[in-house]
Symmetry: C2
Subunit: 351 residues, 2 copies
């Protein structure tokens, strides 16, 4: 058990009734700790969820020195589980390293997170596709306008009860726009890290795709604008000739924890899996591409029903969710929700 | 005159004595305004410089939706001038457009800025190389964890009296490390915009260069890692065969206002100027490259004395500031400081 100060709030908020959406509603408490050169990470405290005070010169506001993670807690009957939280803190430290943010202690944070989630367990919803979304993040707080790695940071965890990311239509097949102008990331950059600036950079393309009637952007690589990288803020998978295939990690693709888990699960279920470079032409011209889907913590699995690239539109599996996608979704969420055994030890029971 | 509410502070801070450094000291007041969908930009107010309150779910902290500008006010005897401030607000709107941030009213902000700087005129230092650094910026404040263009923003201007960016050694020739692994930006990305995430992404390379004993990183293009783009957070110039040459704007290079002004000034002084693609090999192998310097608002002009690329180190102009660099620096700062006439109408007199 970790030794964390708890500041209690006088009154708890009302829990939501009805559909809860995604990421707009926050629980009663949050975890924070601070960093400075002298003390390292210190001042760990669970306190009432509230606004923070920050200098207008804080480096995060000017230079984007910020990383985050996303994970989920689920109800499994009377138990509460965290899904692969150790992976998130490991990845956070990779993001930290890329942005010169001091390393965090993953074990300590995992303890702190468990304490926070136990305290907030009444906020974990139990409906279909619902969970408690967990957002750990680090921001540079030093008030200084020189461009350098900050000397002061704040780490926080906030919690948000969430429904399915795409609402009731979770497994509705989406229409995808292949972006051939805007670039999300390039090798040598920060695309592999969960870094704030990656997401701001993606907004213009997402907006254009929406205006054109598409749900998500498919991102091509930054060098040749030819190889498939991600879809929206998810990793992407293809079923090609019955094989489950995803772009290999190359420095500009986020190493998704759902991506990694789906690769393991697919193999466990007997599918052949492959990580390799995938050119957009291969997907557009191959009659063997039978399914496409995105993966990510927020949306879990999101099927793709059609792809538009320049003047060409290709419909996948008649525009509906395919059998491999459906099976992976069912098996994966069954493990998360405790409806099936967890052969991988992904679920960390915390109560 | 703009109609802006002013909240006075009870006590003014002490003005600094002695060297003032860069970007750590802020004046008594700041300007803020807010944006929401219903009211647009509203609530313009000049208030005491102070911490701001922000939701821990504010989008800027997670997704880096933030842009900024940098400009300077100078004393010219009894007058106070702003240097090309209209250019900054124009560029801010280009950055805003790239990140789906609502446009700001440049004319209104120029009025607001003048009012703020007049109020804070006693903070403008008058020593050699000193000025009042002006930092306008926009941050996404909507408390929402979905990745989308925020619906709420805050615009602020904070002011910081500054000395020369590199201290007393302003015209000391710097040693430059050509980065051949990390990439700052790629066409189709956000490199041309003054976007927070660009700067966080640059820190690791800057740290490595410092550790290797170099002052700054020279950035190559993201596609071929061959063409020269920027140096540190500055644009870069070469004197080749007596001609003043800088990389052409290509979507990943920041269109610096100092860059633009130095091109104009050099031409005015009779130099031939050229904007074109410049490969790193050309610079390393050409005996005709006589000088190199960086340009930016903070540092103005920063000479380069040597360049390291992989195993090769090339010394430029015997490692000291060259005559063209010196002349451009002298003429440029003389205009800013009012010691020479301003044939370009760059200086906006505000008092």
């Amino acid at each position: 058990m970790s030794d964390i100060k708890v500041i209690e709030r006088e009154e708890l908020k009302e829990k939501p009734q009805g559909p809860i959406g995604f990421g707009q509603l926050f629980t009663d408490y949050m975890f924070t700790m601070d960093y400075n050169k002298e003390e390292g990470w210190h001042n760990a405290v669970i306190m009432p969820y509230q606004n923070i005070e920050i200098s207008p010169a804080a480096q995060v506001l000017h230079y984007g020195q910020a990383v985050f993670e996303g994970m989920k807690a689920y109800r499994q009957g009377d138990d509460i589980i965290l899904f692969r939280p150790d992976e998130n803190f490991k990845r956070m430290n990779k993001s930290n390293a890329r942005l010169n943010i001091p390393e965090v202690d993953g074990e300590f944070l995992l303890d702190a997170l468990q304490q926070l989630v136990r305290l907030e367990q009444d906020w974990i919803p139990s409906g279909q596709g619902e969970s408690l979304y967990i957002r750990p993040f680090v921001i540079a707080t030093e008030p200084y306008l020189g461009v350098h790695a900050a000397t002061e940071y704040k780490f926080m965890i906030i919690l948000s009860p969430v429904g399915a990311y795409y609402g009731d239509d979770q497994l509705m097949a989406t229409r995808i726009y292949v972006e051939d102008e805007y670039v999300r990331a390039v090798r040598g950059g920060v695309g592999f890290a969960k870094v704030a600036g990656n997401y701001a950079a993606s907004l213009a393309a997402q907006t254009r795709a929406s205006e054109l009637g598409y749900h998500q952007v498919l991102w091509l690589d930054g060098v040749e604008q030819r190889y498939i990288e991600e879809v929206g803020s998810m990793n992407i998978f293809f079923v090609i000739n019955g094989k489950v295939v995803t772009p290999e990690l190359n420095g500009s693709i986020l190493p998704g924890i759902t991506r990694k888990s789906i690769l393991q699960l697919a193999e466990y279920l007997g599918y052949e899996v492959e990580e390799r470079r995938i050119a957009i032409e291969e997907i557009l011209s191959s009659e063997y591409v039978s399914e496409i889907f995105g993966t990510g913590t927020a949306a879990v699995i999101s099927p793709v029903g059609s792809i538009r690239y320049k003047d060409q539109e290709v419909v996948i599996n008649d525009g509906v969710t395919g059998p491999v996608t459906q099976r992976l979704y069912d098996e994966y969420t069954a493990i998360q929700e405790g409806k099936k055994e967890d052969p991988f030890n992904w679920c960390l029971k915390i109560k």
